[in-house]
Symmetry: C2
Subunit: 394 residues, 2 copies
């Protein structure tokens, strides 16, 4: 007698979470130094010093104001800073009145979908994708449709994408830099994608929203650039989080921005306000609104993640693994040496290597390696990776 | 082409918010000391000193852990402390495994409803009630049914309540101490309510959940006691918030507790986990989980609110107003001297008195006075209240 979907979502084990829990158990049994846990995307680098310094300073002020309600959309001063920062960096014209500060990017996505989907609408996600997209889409009454990438560089397969658009397509979710592949969608992919979308909008006669999930925007390597989608497409909703850029994922603070030139943008923004209200979001956490306002533009020391990526990528390639070339985030997407990635992940456990099979990410046959870990663990894991590959070569 | 309800909820002006914004404008025009703003339920007493002290101490620890993800349900150590505290104070047997830490009581309510309602289900709310209940219920596919209180003391009208229960009734929401009336539901009311519910459960053959919204539990006066509903009824979900008890409403931290003896309680808890996940709640804010764990049991100086209540209640009664006797929260519910409370609220503006008309609370003909304000403002407002009443007596 309970609603079917929430019950199923509550009972379904996430394969990431399941592997992480297995890892905690093994660490207790064997000692943490003997388990190579690459399961979780939990930032391993501390927040910039300014984060805790700012909190300490804020504690000196008026406590009632500091911990009090703010407007639902977040402090106007914060929204002005966010808009100013985006406009300066990307030469766009985001307006503070179109920014809605959220409890992280997950809330931004859930609210954006709830605000735009009609029952039975389709949402296209580019695989591989973060598994929660399916839950957010279905919770808003929609159906998820997936499109595989161009194998090799994991950029957009524009024909496959165009073929996935139907009369029911209401939104497209992209995630760049990507979890789980680390790939940054390049300008060519974005041009192909938004071109197809514009043609499709004309054909069906209603807006198709491009929802950009960008929690990893600041985590890029070798000077890679993440194009700003507002420059490519008007009907864009940007979902951002400070979780990874400032290493404060537990504090739940991010924002969404509705494009200044979106079709009926004021109505979409109003619908976002109504959706957020109806899901129980009163305001984003007040102390951390002030923290990110004062610390905006500061990030963790990304060079640490880059060192990890370089070490892991060269080590694994040397050991014979085929890896997708990652330009950002803190994930490496590695081709499974056997067809069934779950079976590969099981075999890896023999060597205490915890690698997430890619099935739930929508592109089977790979494992995700989260390298937000210590450099030392990566170094110590290399013999295990080599021994694992040797099994497939004998 | 946007979903109807979110758009309507986003566009609808809350009459509370509208009055507050009028107040901000008037304060700019006339000076803050000349406007008597009783519109908002925003705590006016600072958090206990230990809150900011605890934050400062926590900043000395491991930053990655402090600001990192926690389990979705919240830290087990916090859930153990909450359960222990409830069990000790109320002689109940709440289990930590049935506690889900939430982003405030609003999230707890939205998630509880989403986890339990089937399309078309009815949810009974005892009027007067917090207007957001309607939004949360409709967002979960349900319909709100309201029951008027026993006029005079605003306790339960048990006959009216029993008459409101139908085959479609899936849940009942109660709120004690009550926003907007300040009334605490006494033991007799709770016995009548839960007796009727148990009989109804047997009749219809499925659980009817009692959802208790208790953000004002700690704000009671003259030694009033708020009975713990777990002692009365098994199919209870308690929604609590630290917003008012610790004056940290902007930080969004509270919890829900599913009764240990609830019918299919494990499934209900699983459905709550799934509902929270699907609405984009990843985990409750991590820093404040640790703060409330360490500060549990500490509250703001409630005597300040009691002084305000006493001052306002005696002053208004002396001036000829009829007030519902409040035992808790920080609201006074005052009968409008004319039938239309909106018209009364408009007339009050002439005297710079901002009083919220009760229509949206489901019991028309009253105004809500939020006395979480300075004692000084209450004193200065008295001549205005007297002049306003004089209009009705001339």
């Amino acid at each position: 007698m309970l609603p079917e979907k929430p019950l199923a979502w509550g009972r379904a084990r996430s394969c990431i979470r399941e592997l992480a829990e297995y890892g905690w158990k093994r660490k207790e049994e064997l000692g943490a130094e003997n388990v190579f846990d690459f399961s979780l995307g939990n930032p391993s680098i501390p927040a910039p010093d300014s984060v805790n310094q700012t909190i300490a300073e804020l504690l000196q002020g008026d406590s009632v104001a500091l911990h009090g309600y703010t407007t639902a959309a977040g402090l106007m001063s914060l929204r002005q800073r966010i808009a100013g920062d985006l406009n300066e960096r990307f030469d766009v014209d985001v307006r503070p009145e179109r920014i809605y500060v959220t409890c992280g990017a997950a809330a931004g996505l859930a609210v954006s979908l709830r605000a735009t989907l009609l029952p039975g609408d389709e949402v296209v996600a580019l695989a591989p994708f973060f598994p929660e997209y399916r839950v957010f889409v279905e919770a808003s009454g929609g159906n998820l449709v997936t499109v595989q990438p161009r194998m090799g560089d994991f950029q957009l397969d524009v024909e496959a994408f165009a073929a996935a658009l139907t009369e029911k397509t209401r939104a497209v979710i992209i995630n760049s830099p990507n979890n789980p592949s680390g790939v940054v969608l390049n300008s060519e992919s974005l041009l192909g994608l938004t071109g197809a979308l514009r043609r499709h909008e004309e054909e069906v006669g209603h807006p198709v929203y491009l929802i950009c999930d960008e929690p990893y925007r600041e985590l890029v390597y070798d000077g890679a650039e993440v194009p700003c989608v507002f420059s490519y497409y008007d009907d864009t909703i940007l979902c951002y989080s400070f979780s990874k850029s400032m290493s404060i994922p537990g504090e739940r603070i991010g924002y969404l921005a509705v494009g200044s030139h979106m079709t009926d943008g004021d109505a979409v923004y109003a619908s976002i306000m109504g959706a957020a209200r109806s899901l129980g979001y009163v305001n984003p956490p007040s102390l951390f609104q002030r923290v990110v306002e004062r610390c905006l533009g500061q990030t963790v020391d990304v060079s640490k993640y880059q060192e990890n990526r370089d070490l892991l990528l060269s080590g694994l390639r040397e050991a014979g693994y085929e890896c997708v070339e990652p330009q950002g985030a803190f994930y490496l997407f590695v081709k499974s040496p056997e067809e069934d990635a779950k079976s590969f992940s099981e075999r890896a456990k023999k060597y205490e290597l915890l690698l997430v099979p890619s099935d739930d990410f929508g592109t089977p046959g790979y494992v995700r390696i989260a390298y937000c870990v210590s450099r030392d663990m990566i170094l110590r894991s290399m013999p295990a990776f080599r021994a694992l590959m040797a099994e497939y070569r004998s």
